[in-house]
Amino acid sequence: MTTATRPRVPRGIEYNLGFFVRLGLLLGVLGGIGAATLPAIPILGYGLLAHHDSITSYVAWLFGWCQHSELVSEGIYGCGQYGLPVPLFEPAVVMQRVLGLVGLGRPPKVTVDYVVAIIASLILLHFVVISVTLIIYILRKVIGYMQARLGPMRVGPKGILQTLIDAVKLLAKEDTIPGTADKVMFTLAPVVVFIPALLVYVVVPFGDSKGFIARDLNIGILYVVAMSSITVIGIILAGWASDNKYALFGAMRAAAQLVSYEVPGVLVVLGPVIMAGSLGMRDIILAQKGGVTEWFIWSPVPLVGFLVYLISSLAETNITPFDLPEAESELVSGYNVEYSGMKFGLFFLAEFANSFTVCFVAAALFLGGWYAPPVFKLAAGLTLALSVGLCWIELPFLLRWALAASALAVCLGMPDHGWGSLYWMMLKASGLQFLTMWIRATYPRVRVDQLMEFAWKGLIPISLVYLAAVGLWAAINQK
């Protein structure tokens, strides 16, 4: 080992390097797909030339958001009011045109409101379903790589269609209800779990400009916390209605866990709220403008608030170190053990949707939302230079490295306004999602007593101290 003339890179490190390259690509792709999901629906769906003479003018209008004076002056019911991307107003325009041609004149404002609301909710539903499908696939792949196995490989190239097939399977499965179950409550429970998970996305800011947030409620973060708190009821209901002791154990654990971890989670969320002086998600992000140092993760005490929020939201979404409510080895599957078919699918969908929401909220509250660190532009250039250097050293990997590095460079050099902001928000949320996957693959499950002690004797005192520090910070910075 000492006589080697040329020091070889140990196998493990080499593997890790490759892993991180793959990770960079993966995050880039995930962010890109996520960013494409939202606008793709209206772009593909609605009459391209309904309002425009040429494609160029349509594209210009698409990217110009609300600034297009023509539309605003024509009175297309104030785009800013609903805060959706202008393309979403296309159906409203089409509807007006059609009704005008028929001779019915303009539809009442209320009708347009409803059309817009329905389209917005459809877009959010699509986003949730598509992102969850992707997350499940990526989760299985990531955990597979971390545990030195392949993950799904059979269906489609690299198993990419596996989740799709699983979803079809869930839809086609027989929907069983246990004979002794409370039928109404049993059916209601997955709905009670899923609806809040979907509703939370109303205030999730996907990017800069009001066009990327379905409705910027002035109680933003309070709304998120309130909606997530409904989930517990559905879980308890599921466990109770199943009439199965494992399900009931799972439900009881879930109730105790979620109620306990809600406290530090909410206390810590108050930190950014106080520092930004607003409950609105957009306002909180706007308050973090001006470089990495302005992000609320650093002030007043670095990392504390962020970590407490991350840990308590892991517990609230039942992710692995805290997955006692569905501990497979003890409770089979916990509260959802009796469910099959799409009822089970709804639980699954809600769980992953919640875990992604939490990432969005954490990115918005602590990581500066859609603001990109200015140093990243420098890093983009450096990455390219580095990749060229590395290409010389290891020739066989030339293509792979060059590809990875250029992808990374493009990722790092993205602008953080307009459509670029969508990318950054997605990237941060996806990065946090990856972190939770990493934790999921790494840590063993905690014990019940450890779980409770950690919340009540650890996190809550820490978050109270953090809150006091935030108060002090706010008092000092006010002058």
């Binding site: 209601l188 997530s228 708190s229 517990v232 109770w240 009881m252 109730a255």
Partner: protein, 164 residues
């Protein structure tokens, strides 16, 4: 018109689910009706443009109190919640007191004068916050003191039971 429709629909929801709380034979069903009733009240807050109250109503009443009630039902009685007796022999007294409360509330509602305005309500969060630390600071502090006492009391009771 739409708002009136929404109001009456919500009011009907609240009343029906409130009846469900009393009439359901199963305690868990009652708790669920209670949650629905709370949710209906939250919707009324939305109709009043009081979004902050909506959030707090959902967070505390739907999210916390209902869960605590469910927890209580499952921990204290038999877990199924089916065999628990829902009624007792004091229904006459209960009916009388309910009727008296109803009459008193109706009387007060018809006696009081409600100001009507067409102005759009402003940011309720700021208003409530300012009111809490200026005009209503004493009731606010008293309420928090009461909560603290309740918290300490709960711990003391729980400790005593643990010693037994």
């Amino acid at each position: 018109m739409m708002e009136a429709l929404a109001f009456y629909a919500t009011a009907a929801l609240i009343l029906i689910s409130a009846l469900g709380v009393v009439l359901c034979r199963n305690l868990v069903h009652s708790a669920m009706s209670l949650a629905l009733s709370f949710l209906g009240v939250a919707v009324i807050y939305i109709l009043l443009h009081a979004f902050f109250l909506f959030g707090v109503q959902v967070l505390i009443y739907v999210g916390a109190i209902t869960v605590l009630i469910m927890f209580g039902i499952m921990l204290t009685r038999d877990v199924e919640g089916n065999l628990v007796q829902q009624t007792n022999r004091q229904h006459r007294m209960a009916a009388a007191s309910a009727l008296a409360t109803f009459i008193a509330l109706t009387y007060i509602a018809f006696q009081s004068h409600f100001n009507v305005t067409n102005a759009t309500p402003g940011d309720s969060v700021v208003g409530i916050g300012v009111a809490f630390i200026s005009r209503y600071v004493v009731p606010f502090e008293v309420a928090s003191l009461v909560l603290l006492v309740a918290l300490v009391g709960a711990i003391v009771i729980a400790r005593d039971k643990e010693v037994d």
